[in-house]
């Protein structure tokens, strides 16, 4: 076995898995950028926005929930940097699932008032939120998976996976900020 000294001049030390997640995040961000672009493009063409008969988007609840989600970045960071990540991960998971449950409830509640089949506004509103919630759900699954893995102790592989998952969550938070501000924008500027 030949042991190779890591070169001290190599300052950037992210593991390959982290770079893989970075690629995913890059392409997903482009995906959301396109949807948000489509949202404002159609808004340029339609007034009133939302169309007559469609309720204004809720503002307070989504923004509060958004704040809660942003806070979960802290336990995720702790989990990916501490030697005993399970506690932190569990905390994050609980809050995130709470957020997810509330949002899904909201989503279904909206569907009672207007549907994506009525107007392009609805189509965009539900597609944007649906895509975002989908990414949150994926994050939750990743949390559960790594938590389950960690029950059998910590390995180098799992430490890297944890870093990747934490990074994914930071990205999800940023995307959620963008999406939430987009769908609530009609309330700020008519």
């Amino acid at each position: 076995m030949t042991d190779v000294a890591v070169d001290p001049r190599a300052r950037e030390r992210f593991p390959l898995g982290w770079w893989g997640v970075a690629m995913l995040v890059a392409t997903e961000s482009a995906l959301f950028a396109m949807m948000i672009g489509a949202y404002f493009y159609l808004r340029f063409k339609n007034s009133p926005w939302p169309p007559a008969g469609t309720p204004e988007p809720k503002v307070v609840v989504p923004l509060v929930l958004l704040g809660v989600l942003i806070l979960t970045a802290w336990p995720m960071w702790k989990a990916s940097h501490s030697s005993s990540p399970r506690r932190w991960l569990l905390l994050a998971l609980l809050v995130q699932s709470g957020y997810f449950a509330m949002e899904v409830g909201d989503f279904q509640d909206d569907l009672h008032h207007f549907t994506p089949q009525q107007h392009a506004y609805g189509s965009l509103y539900y597609t944007l939120l649906g895509a975002d919630h989908g990414h949150v759900a994926l994050g939750l699954l990743l949390d559960v998976w790594i938590l389950w893995k960690l029950l059998f102790g910590m390995t180098e592989y799992r430490r890297r996976a944890l870093r990747g998952i934490a990074f994914y969550w930071y990205a999800v938070i940023v995307l959620t900020i963008a999406v939430t501000l987009t769908v609530t924008s009609p309330a700020f500027a008519r």
Partner: protein, 622 residues
Amino acid sequence: MTTTVADRVERLERQWAERPGVLGWLTTTDHKRVGLLYFWATLVFFGAGGVEALTMRTQLIKPNNSLVGPETFNQLFTVHGMTMIFWFIIPMTTGAFGNYLTPLMVGARDMAFPRMNALSFWIFLASGIFLYIGLFGGFGPDAGWFDYTPLGSRLYDPARNADFYTLSLAFNGMASTLTSANLIVTILKLRAPGMSFNRIPLFCFAMLAASFGLLFALPSLSVDLLFLYLDRNLGFHFFDVAHGGSNFLWQHLFWFFGHPEVYILIVPAFGIATEIIPAFTRRKMLAFPLVAIAELLVVFIGFGVWAHHMFATGLPTTTLVFFAGATSMVVIPSTIQVFAWSMSIFTGTPKFKTPLLFIIGFIVMFVAGGLTGIMFLAIPFDQQMTDTYFVVAHFHYIIFGAAVFPIFGGMYYWFPKVTGKLYFERPGQISFWIIFIGTNLLFFPMHIVGLLGMPRRVYTYPGGLGWTSYNVLESVGGYITGLGILVLFANLVVSYFRGPPSGPDPWHGPTLEWTIPSPPPEYNFATIPTVTSAYANWTDDTPPSLELDVGHKQHVSSLVDGWTAEIADMPHSSPWPILLALALALLFTMLVIDRYMFASIFAVVIALTLLGWHSKEPQEHA
């Protein structure tokens, strides 16, 4: 502890050996095997696209011809376009050439994510089969490769044709995304020690550019396809003017992907040219930094020209000039490279072997097609000539002349490396001349019929408008081109069985792949080289190199300057990629016949497959 070279190699052979037989190919994660799988699969699709093209040329050989009806013809030109772009050129350049050569050139033992690499191939293959099942089932996409709404919407395309369009492209897009992510991380992180950014071979810069292009352009297409699928099957209104939607939205989203796509098609060809030219002119590329940045800039600025496909849609001039301006300046990176190539040949010591002939043919065709491309920055001229055969001529000069010629040249150039045999030179040169004459006879008259007013995508045309004779020439040129391609592959096949052994380095090529045996062993490099130049095979100094001979070890370098950052464990062959691709194929099949219940079941299957995929950790493989 000290080990002799012999038993170190012997140990590597043992540790990196692939499973024997078919099972080995189905579960392989070796980038060379995956590359070869890509190569053969894309050739099949190339053949299909070629047959479609020749059928269309035969239909158009005389006015009011009735060989195929409009229904067939529309499917033919749509599927021809989709096949050549998404199932031939992209997978051939990034999938086959990129996969096989990139790790060899940066001094890596595999791609950064070997299993993901295999996955991307199986997804690609499944998506192609999916599309052709649609075509042979009579549901081939038939609204053009850019499938404008409302023609592609449920009202005007009531059958499943457009569903096969959306789903097959979305499916195929996954494969391209995975490959490009893999290539990016490989080039950024798996370089040999000492390979700082200014020492990356230009081919890898091209791969980097193409991969970043795909990574950021494909999402736009995916969103577009998602919107269209929802519109068609769930009654959404993204593209429905009556309900606040817009057909311009489809066009913007499509071309935001579609134009970078065109540059993504040719940039790898630039990369191949920048490898072949030094090898056959015995000189380093002129203006190395400018050529490198040019390859990146072509794709980057390519993101700013999309609406030059929409100059005739009646958008305001104040918007369109942005795209016209970017279109004018996106030419500069190409002119830089054209003069760098031709001046390198001029100031070097050229040996006009077959690969270099194809590159010269490529330069001529690319300049011709590029010059007609420049004309489209003139909005009034574009509005006159768009959607005519003039455009067809332009982009075939670019896509066949500029993208496919270097692919052929690359096949000849790397044939000895992949097979260990030499191809036969004389038939190679003959194949070049037949293809060169054929393509020009095929595509040049299209300029003229375009100027004479012949629109594209017509399944027939009236006589008496002065179009007939040119169409005859085009069809004849088409047959000649087909013949030339047959000669080319016949030559390669015969050479594979009868060719003399080539040895590791028949051309004295500049880059790392020529420092190892041909065909390369599974582990590529017995010892990881330390490089001091982008032309590593030409630097005669023998710097200390790295011995990684226990387990599946891989050198990971720092992002910019290529210092050793860590030694990573690489996974070995795995059955999960092909299983996952299969599950995805079933999922998409359920979507196209809208059985959403079954679709969700297969989604669960996919999740379970992923669990299995990650049940074993790389360390445990060794």
